[in-house]
Symmetry: C2
Subunit: 356 residues, 2 copies
């Protein structure tokens, strides 16, 4: 830290992204990326002809991408804006809708970026404990007294709530915004986008990093009432108007329109998830039913950390979160079927040796 | 504006990017882009093989790009960090080094984003008038009482100050950070990067959008003492760690390493600038000597706005800033030689008709 840094950031602890080690080749099941390449339609737009146009600025409204989203989600363009990934969208949401008077309210066990954003912005954070088995009880968010942020499905637990619950949370917080972070929604939960007409305080955030196989292209979008989109666009244009690259706007539009490939990829993930859940349970793991592209599982016979370290030694990376509530668990990204077969074989060996 | 937006943003006026009209094909000399495509080495990395890896997250440290910059600028990697364009880097600089106690100090006529950032962050802005002929007087920034931000060369004036002046401004503000925004430095001014060993409070910000022909790829970098880089990286990792796309990291590294093409492009711009300056002066324009890829010029016989509107009717876009101090001027991006010949012909006709 330099002596010039504003005092308010003296104790800021930044988000720690999943490790990307370079020392050897791992089976990487730690950052919830897709095991499949992007759609062929996406790969077609990444070419020399389009690269030549990189000399020009992108359209800061991302018009072509917004139009594609508008078609596929059957939502007017005025309900949508796009960002360079969904973390950026979450930042604008916290910035717009939280302040000294309005705290942020989120589940105690959830995406690790929420407390970092609250801390950075100097916003009070109210963390609501999950119930038994990491279950999110919608009633715990009624009259929450601040901006509610819920990942649905939740990370790293993989559990989802239904649209009725979200509608009721919106209704019971009518003077505050309810942000639903749908990073993982395409793997089995239902998107709250369809609640927009009845919920004027709802903000839905999605990413292209998981189900659309484009983590490396940095694309996110948000859907909300037009007046809220206007708020968020005003912030984006006051901080970083040109956030998406030209190629990402084109790639994103192509990805959204290739519905067939999107369905094929998520179908494969859902099927590999079922296989992995059953295989791990058969080996003695406690596995939470997941609606995402990852599993939250406990090896039971050893701690999450021990399991993580043993797997890493054997060339398999999973994610371990060292908090009190999650220390017995690891988060395992669902890869392709053959990846998961290898994972299950190694995991089974590790717990067998630990159980001796 | 929604009723949920934090009060502090009620009167925020966002930055207005240069217009990108879609109604007809213009000769676009309004957003300071390069008329030349990116280096062939850049175009080679934008291919189907690399597109397939877009399924994976980028390296949030942008290691390969930092390494290329480190080589070419002969600067240790610990003095560098990269961002998704330089606007993002400016945001982190304002956020890190300004607050209620530390205002920001910048020239009254300069890059329009500075007052927007100050407004957004609720920071007091001290605007120092330029001297006669838009000249920046270094002494006006001694003991400035806040974080100093100077675009060098300045925009939209095109005038530059020397390294001796920058060194002295750093020395005379030893308890505050001095940000030198070098968006246009490669077209004739000298980079302050080489002052880093003697100036522990210096932060240099550069972009790939102008001299490296990559506005569409969103790449910027900052150079400063390692403890300041640490501050800024901490903020980046608390807001948006994955800001650069995988393709932009690779494209940026390839662009930096192709020194020959870089020199060829900026040489052509400098030569077209000389041609345009002389041609406009011969037509009666007042033209400020420019060290950038644009000219700041007054048609004299008509206002900047009238000239802008007349040129637009004829299919040529220039940038007009409607402030009191700049209302007689327009900013003209330097394109390829043939673009500038066409521009000069149309401009000459417009002022001749106005002078009748």
């Amino acid at each position: 830290m330099s002596r010039f840094l504003s005092e308010k950031f003296a104790s800021l602890a930044p988000y720690v992204p999943g490790e990307q080690p370079r020392d050897m080749k791992y089976l990487k099941l730690n950052t919830n990326e897709s095991p499949f390449p992007p759609s062929k339609k996406v790969i077609e737009v990444i070419n020399a002809d389009n690269a030549a146009y990189l000399r020009l600025y992108p359209d800061p409204t991302g018009h072509d991408l917004v139009e594609a989203l508008s078609e596929v989600y059957k939502l007017p363009a005025e309900n949508i804006y796009v960002t360079g990934g969904s973390d950026e969208a979450l930042y604008y949401a916290f910035l717009a809708y939280c302040d000294e008077k309005t705290p942020v309210v989120f589940p105690e066990v959830s995406y690790g970026f929420y407390p970092v954003l609250a801390d950075l912005l100097g916003i009070k954070a109210k963390r609501i404990p999950l119930r038994e088995g990491f279950r999110l009880e919608p009633e715990d968010y009624y009259d929450a007294g601040g901006t509610v942020v819920i990942a649905n499905p939740n990370a790293p637990t993989g559990r989802a709530i239904g649209l009725d619950a979200i509608r009721e949370i919106c209704r019971r917080n009518e003077n505050n915004v309810v942000v639903i972070d749908e990073a993982y929604v395409d793997f089995g939960a239902e998107s709250a986008v369809r609640l927009l007409p009845e919920c004027p305080n709802l903000l839905v955030v999605q990413t292209f990093s998981k189900s659309r196989c484009l983590a490396g292209a940095r694309i996110g979008f948000s859907a909300a009432a037009p007046d809220m989109i206007e708020d968020l666009v005003k912030l984006k244009f006051s901080i970083n108007p040109y956030d998406l690259t030209r190629l990402s706007i084109d790639a994103g539009a192509a990805a959204v329109r290739d519905v067939e490939y999107f369905d094929e990829c998520r179908g494969k993930i859902i099927s590999a998830r079922k296989y992995t859940t059953e295989a791990l349970r058969a080996t003695g793991f406690e596995v939470i039913d997941s609606m995402t592209n990852f599993l939250f599982a406990s090896p039971v016979v050893m701690s999450g950390e021990e399991f993580y370290l043993e797997m890493k030694k054997r060339g398999v990376l999973v994610r371990y979160f060292g908090t009190e509530k999650t220390k017995n668990y690891v988060r395992i990204t669902i890869g392709a079927r053959e990846d998961m077969e290898r994972f299950c074989a190694v995991a089974s060996q590790v717990v067998k040796e630990a159980g001796k």
